[in-house]
């Protein structure tokens, strides 16, 4: 198996080379009360009307043993108590030191039903994330944050993006893909996209709440009964959004927009690019506003995170990725601390050698403007350089 070799491990350094960027990590507030302390007082009773914790969210489609695991890695619960992903120090030990991640992009998940409540809840999470993870527990500078926005109120989302623009550690905007029947290419989202693009922030999307029911995408031929078939078909939500972004002209309206599809697969990108190119060739008269081949928009504007990697035969999987030739568009991710976590050492071997460096760090470093080195943590072997061969 290929591993990342740390060269010159005997030397002590404060700085280590960025070797692995993890583009999908989920922090959680220690408690709802902590979160409430960041919320506007007059909203607390509206967002949390029963006083019950909103986290962790109940799931309509449950993962294995979810009553016990709550879809988390069971070893990720901090030894001092609390839920997985609530302790920045323990996350730093497990993910940064032990697994060898250099920089991680944090993507908190939350949902509220009503548009204005959703907006306030997202802003509350942003204030909490900036304070707890990006400021007080970020002396090493290795956490990056996501500006959560409500896709239901794009004008407010734009102002929220503006509020955080220029923050040294806010790396991207995060919006739900569960947009209640509005595809991503719709002009509805234009204010949000314009604000993100103007500030050089990519827009990432990640499965959000699995409750309430209205937030579950309605599968066009009906919804499956089990998480297994539900989640296997989930990439088709991203396919739908991507086709809309291209065919409805969003990338033409926002030339600087970058979209990151998180945790929704990526091997589908090859057939979807072929499919869009073929139909664009055949129906150009229907698409006067789509000026370039669809696959060109994908290569320029879209990134995909890699977890969960498909457990196919490694040789065939590498051949497929070589054929797909999207080595500039894939970004490694672990999904820490969730149950379907992909370890870096497991993942790297599955990529073609010529794409590894770009997938493990290069593409994310370029997209988010990350530094070449970061501060070493206690217990971390310093490295002058790394090899991906």
């Amino acid at each position: 198996m290929t591993t990342i070799e740390r060269v010159n491990p005997q030397t002590e350094h404060d700085e280590i080379v960025v070797a692995i960027v993890d583009t999908d990590v989920h922090p959680m507030p220690v408690s709802t009360d902590v979160l409430k302390s960041y919320a506007p007082a007059d909203w607390v009773d509206k967002i949390w009307p029963t006083g019950n914790a909103v986290t962790p969210l109940p799931h309509f489609y449950d993962t294995p043993d979810s009553y016990k695991t709550m879809s988390m890695r069971v070893d990720a619960h901090p030894p001092g108590g609390g839920f997985a992903g609530t302790d920045p120090d323990y996350a730093a030990k497990q993910l940064l030191v032990d697994a060898g991640v250099s920089i991680a992009t944090l993507e908190p998940m939350c949902d509220a039903q009503l548009p204005q409540a959703e907006h306030v809840l997202k802003a509350t999470y942003n204030d909490w994330l900036a304070d707890v993870w990006l400021d007080r527990n970020n002396a090493h500078g290795r956490w990056r944050g996501s500006i959560g926005v409500s896709a239901q109120v794009p004008e407010r989302a734009a102002r929220e993006i503006q509020r955080w623009a220029g923050h040294p550690y806010m790396a991207q905007v995060l919006m739900t893909p569960q947009t209640r029947g509005i595809p991503f290419g719709s002009p509805h989202f234009d204010p949000l996209y314009a604000a993100a693009a103007a500030n050089g922030l990519p827009v990432a999307t990640h499965l959000m709440g699995q409750t309430p029911f209205e937030l579950i995408p309605i599968y066009p031929v009906g919804n499956p009964a089990h998480w297994h078939d539900f989640f296997a078909a989930w990439p088709l939500l991203y396919v739908s959004h991507l086709m809309s972004l291209v065919f409805d002209g969003a990338f033409d309206r926002h030339p600087d927009l970058r979209v990151v599809f998180v945790e929704g697969g990526f091997t589908w990108a090859m057939p979807v690019m072929w499919r869009m190119d073929r139909i664009w060739e055949a129906r150009r008269a229907d698409l006067p506003h789509v000026r370039r081949r669809p696959s060109e928009y994908v290569r320029e504007h879209v990134r995909f995170t890699t977890q969960p990697l498909e457990d196919a035969d490694v040789k065939h999987f590498r051949e497929y990725l070589e054929m797909m030739d999207l080595g500039d568009n894939l970004m490694f991710s672990t999904d820490y601390p969730h149950w379907s976590y992909d370890a870096p050492a497991y993942a790297i071997n599955r990529f073609p050698a010529a794409q590894r460096e770009r997938i493990m760090r290069g593409n994310a470093t370029a997209l988010y403007g990350l530094p070449p080195t970061v501060t070493a943590l206690p217990g971390e072997g310093p490295a002058a350089d790394v090899s991906f061969e």
């Binding site: 449950d62 993962t63 294995p64 043993d65 893909p177 947009t179 209640r180 029947g181 509005i182 595809p183 290419g185 719709s186 995408p217 309605i218 599968y219 066009p220 031929v221 009906g222 499956p224 009964a225 089990h226 998480w227 297994h228 078939d229 989640f231 296997a232 078909a233 990439p235 088709l236 939500l237 396919v239 739908s240 959004h241 086709m243 809309s244 065919f247 409805d248 697969g265 091997t267 589908w268 090859m270 057939p271 979807v272 072929w274 499919r275 869009m276 190119d277 073929r278 139909i279 664009w280 055949a282 129906r283 229907d286 698409l287 969960p308 498909e310 457990d311 196919a312 051949e319 497929y320």
Partner: protein
């Protein structure tokens, strides 16, 4: 030898179906042949085929285009109905009328013996669907059961099981085809309604995967070893990524669905076929041979022209880039194995039916 596994014959004019409906239903409101929410600008069918009657409605013309010009030896006719209209009993009547019309206008008068047909049934009326299969299954020229892609429940759900059981018992594959009309359907993409026709047309075929995944996970193929599904709108381009994903989580999910006793992709060879489409496959034909090997698609794919659709695909286009063994399988061997088309047709009186 070439077998075209996906041809849509059409009524000559909208009112023609009324001749095949029982008197009590002849004055009901029924969507027109070409009526659908997402119609292609310029028409759904090949421009050169529009004339006095609907494209694909004259048997001799279709035979000339497919057999004489296209070199096709056998063609499987899979007529559309009029969508999942709200009155499911009327929909079942429409299916029966389409079946009787297919026999009356296409299969019985055909002396070339090269057309085969489909028993259209309405899955929203399971008892009626089973009865329609029982009524017509013995007809030697009806080689499959046909259902719409559109549905408000995926086809793995238990409500449909009696239909699939009846089809399998008669050795009839179930063909799933996008069925226009004006049905009571959900939006065609996972993100809602498409804003453009290309946005609709490029995504809609991919919905087959939800039917397929639920058929596997709900154990339908496990319980019915002779059940076969044909997805006739293509979409096999995305088969490998999504089946890999289904396989990846199989072991983790066995507590919930212990009857799925093998990797999901292991069900494909015995249970699943696709018809070719103009939108599937590498844009670089040089990648075709290697790409077909992923998920064993060479054994799953059958040539289907989609005639008279605007995206009608000729055999040469469907086989572009394939090696000769792959070409044989796609152009006829796989379909021949599924439908047994080169076997002689049994002589004897045509199945009795009530019109």
């Amino acid at each position: 030898m070439i077998i075209d596994a996906n041809v849509q014959p059409h009524f000559r004019y909208n009112a023609e179906i009324r001749k095949y409906l029982p008197a009590a239903h002849r004055l009901r409101s029924i969507p027109d042949v070409e009526q659908q929410w997402y119609q292609a600008p310029g028409g759904n069918y090949r421009e050169d085929l529009y004339g006095e009657h609907y494209p694909g409605s004259d048997r001799d013309t279709v035979a000339r285009h497919l057999f004489d010009d296209g070199g096709v030896d056998y063609a499987v006719l899979n007529p559309l109905t009029r969508g999942n209209i709200a009155d499911y009993l009327l929909n079942s009547r429409i299916c029966a009328a389409v079946n009787d019309w297919l026999l009356d206008r296409w299969l019985e008068p055909d002396t070339t013996n090269r057309f085969r047909g489909t028993i259209r049934v309405n899955p929203e009326d399971p008892k009626g669907a089973v009865a329609e299969i029982e009524r017509l299954a013995a007809h030697p020229k009806l080689v499959q059961v046909g259902v719409p892609m559109q549905s408000r429940e995926p086809y793995g759900k238990p409500v449909f099981e009696p239909i699939w059981e009846a089809a399998a018992a008669h050795g009839l594959p179930v063909a799933v085809h996008i069925n226009g009309g004006n049905g009571v359907d959900y939006a065609p993409t996972f993100a809602g309604h498409a804003h453009t026709y290309p946005g609709y047309a490029s995504f809609m075929p991919l919905n087959y995967f939800v039917h397929l995944a639920t058929l596997i996970v709900e154990g339908m193929f496990g319980r019915h070893p002779h059940l076969k599904f044909v997805f006739t709108d293509g979409g096999y381009d995305i088969l490998t990524p999504l089946m890999w994903r289904l396989d990846t989580f199989w072991l983790s999910m066995r507590d919930q669905t212990p009857w799925v006793d093998r990797y999901p992709s292991d069900y494909l060879p015995a249970h699943v076929r696709f018809c070719s489409s103009a939108f599937d496959g590498p844009t670089d034909p040089g990648q075709m041979q290697r790409w077909m090997d992923f998920s064993g698609k060479t054994d799953l794919l059958m040539y289907g022209s989609g005639y008279p659709h605007w995206s009608t695909c000729a055999p040469g286009e469907a086989a572009a880039g394939l090696d000769s063994a792959q070409r044989d399988k796609v152009l006829w061997r796989n379909a021949n194995e599924l439908y047994g088309l080169t076997e002689p047709i049994e002589a004897g009186p045509i199945n009795e039916r009530s019109v």
